[in-house]
């Protein structure tokens, strides 16, 4: 399975780097663009290209056009390391936007660190990422925040007290689960059981059958949408009547095609109808260009590319200077003001961002009636 995907990835990389042009500023965007998580990558790609188009329409960076290089790594840590090595060796690259999956970012982080190449992840939420390298930044919240936020929401807004957890064996899912459990225990929620699955699993019935006997109020799925949609369907087939909730990894339109996912709650870093006035222009432009509302991957990548472009405009194409510039955005008044709110970094390169809750009602994503701070 992997082999065939590697060829596809290699092909995409070749085509990507063949688009060589002398007088442009290259900003690579690394994410899965094919494979099971391709639909996440769709938002990343759209957001990045829209931002680049807008920067170029406004005259580019100091007169030079921005060129987005789409680097496909399939959310696979091995592929991510390959992409990172390639980018680290490219002298024209001063900053990377990526990666999407936490496991991919964690695999790429030491390579960027060795090459002193700064990277901004628009979507990796594993708590350990930015701590591990002074060259890694992100404009998304961390899972210790997201997990605790979810536990609070489930407790305060939904009143679910008995929770079963069904997580994937990757860095994102495990980090999120641990954060959730820590906060849930503090609040006296009962964790009835924790079960794991690997990303190539299609049959979830043994674990769900176990959960069924425990009679939980809800099942927490801190994983990704391709498996999430299978889990909720198979639970319905087993005759389970429980609530489901997850984090931003389930925030994908594939869930909307599944009638069993009705009533699913997820956290998300960006909600079009809860977004501030600064986002309205972006939402309009995005809808005009792609015909759909931007999801959080699109919004965060749009901002990450903006941040990268601003850093290059201010610090030039020197990797160390770009890194130092990004690190200097360390207080609210120096923050980068994007469509997802203000982004400024703490000493690790992490940032504080708001989380929102949305749910599936009538086959559509809508913001949950009750939001908490």
């Amino acid at each position: 399975m992997r082999k065939s995907l590697i060829w596809t990835a290699a092909l995409v990389c070749l085509v990507g780097s063949a688009a060589w042009a002398g007088d442009t500023i290259k900003i690579p965007v690394a994410s899965p663009f094919t494979g099971p998580l391709a639909s996440f990558g769709e938002g990343v790609k759209n957001g990045a290209l829209l931002k680049a188009e807008e920067i170029n329409a406004a005259g580019g960076i100091n007169g030079k056009k921005v060129e987005i290089l789409l680097e496909d790594e399939l959310c696979d840590p091995k592929e991510a390391a390959n992409v990172a090595t390639k980018l680290a060796g490219d002298k024209d690259v001063a900053v990377v936007v990526g990666h999407l999956c936490s496991s991919a970012s964690l695999a790429a982080a030491p390579i960027y660190k060795d090459a002193k190449l700064p990277a901004i992840s628009p979507a990796s939420t594993n708590p350990n990422l930015c701590k591990s390298s002074p060259y890694y930044f992100r404009n998304v919240y961390k899972d210790d925040f997201q997990g605790a936020f979810l536990a609070r929401y489930v407790d305060e807004a939904l009143g679910w007290k008995k929770i079963a957890i069904f997580y994937e064996t990757n860095d994102y899912s495990i980090g999120l689960k641990n954060a959730f459990v820590a906060e849930a225990k503090k609040r006296g929620l009962r964790i009835l059981g924790e079960e794991a699955y690997t990303s190539d699993t299609t049959d979830f019935t043994p674990q769900l059958s176990k959960f069924k006997m425990m009679k939980p109020d809800a099942i927490f799925i801190p994983g990704y949408a391709p498996q999430g949609t299978l889990i909720v369907s198979q639970a319905a087939k087993l005759g389970m009547k429980v609530g489901f909730f997850g984090a931003d990894g389930l925030d994908d339109d594939v869930m909307l095609k599944n009638k069993d996912a009705e009533g699913l709650f997820v956290t998300t870093p960006f909600l079009p109808d809860a977004a501030g006035p600064e986002a309205q222009g972006f939402i309009k432009a995005y809808k005009a260009k792609y015909g759909v509302e931007p999801n959080w991957f699109a919004a965060n990548t749009y901002d990450a590319v903006g941040l990268a472009a601003q850093a290059i405009a201010k610090a030039g194409l020197d990797r160390q200077k770009v890194r130092d510039y990004l690190a200097s955005l360390n207080s609210p008044d120096k923050a980068y003001k994007g469509v997802t709110g203000a982004t400024y970094f703490d000493k690790n390169g992490d940032c504080l961002k708001a989380a929102f809750i949305k749910e599936i009602r009538g086959g559509k994503w809508v913001s949950a009636k009750k939001q908490i701070q």
Partner: protein, 306 residues
Amino acid sequence: MDLQNLFDMSSLFLQQLVNGLTVGGVYALIAVGYTMVYGVIELINFAHGEIYMFGAFITFHLITVYKVPFFVAALVAVAACAVIGILLDIVAYRPLRNAPRLAALITAIGMSIFFQNLALIKWGAQIKSYPLEALPPFFSDVAVRIGDVQVTWLQVFILATTLLLMFALHTIIHRTKVGAAMRAIAQDKRAAALMGINVNRVISFTFALGSSLGAVAGILVGVFYNAIWPTMGYIAGIKAFAAAVLGGIGSVPGAMLGGVVLGVAEVFGAGYLSSQYRDGIAYAVMILVIVFKPSGLLGKAMIQKV
């Protein structure tokens, strides 16, 4: 309280058994394809997992693009996969019939990768699901409910189809002329040819038979999990191959038994031991059997032909 606990435990056991039999039945259907082809030409047809994937995707294509009713689409897909199986043999394997066995094996792996990528180009990488309105509505109805255990008609359908096909296969192999020819070729290809058996035609028939069963498995899985994707044949193929080896490669009843044992071991492993290591547990069972009985559960120890 204790009685309630006991009741819960036993109904969980029952539920897991049903889950395991469903998965195992599907493995068995794929595994007989491996084992039959191995029986007649001593080739492990690694592209067999992709035939299974094609079964699921051709059905999907017919349902969504041509709006064909489900059962008709499924039958057409099964027939199409039988033809693909025959063509696969004629194009890729027949020219290598007298070449070293390694050449045919590598070709099989190559065909597997080729088919996967063909499907990737045609249908894209993302997971597809059958539109619910196209499926027979009784599938999701509950057939049997005992306490907390429930079995849907779809599960009954999967198990019944598997049993029926296994019975039909057994009849074909043991009660028909072509079945006798298959068994003869499995014993000695040259002698069979000397007895006037059209060897190539029987091999084509074997591929058609194995491929149709694989296609049925693909369709059943696609409906049961409501998800199909171009690389779905890879893992399923490896598992079914393991099942065939577990049962004794070359033995049809062995493949059936191996499939069921592997499916049940996997589900019980995930349900009672550790869900992270479900595949590991399934393979450990296989290795244990092979260590103590190298010819597999029902395989006959045979002297290697020289």
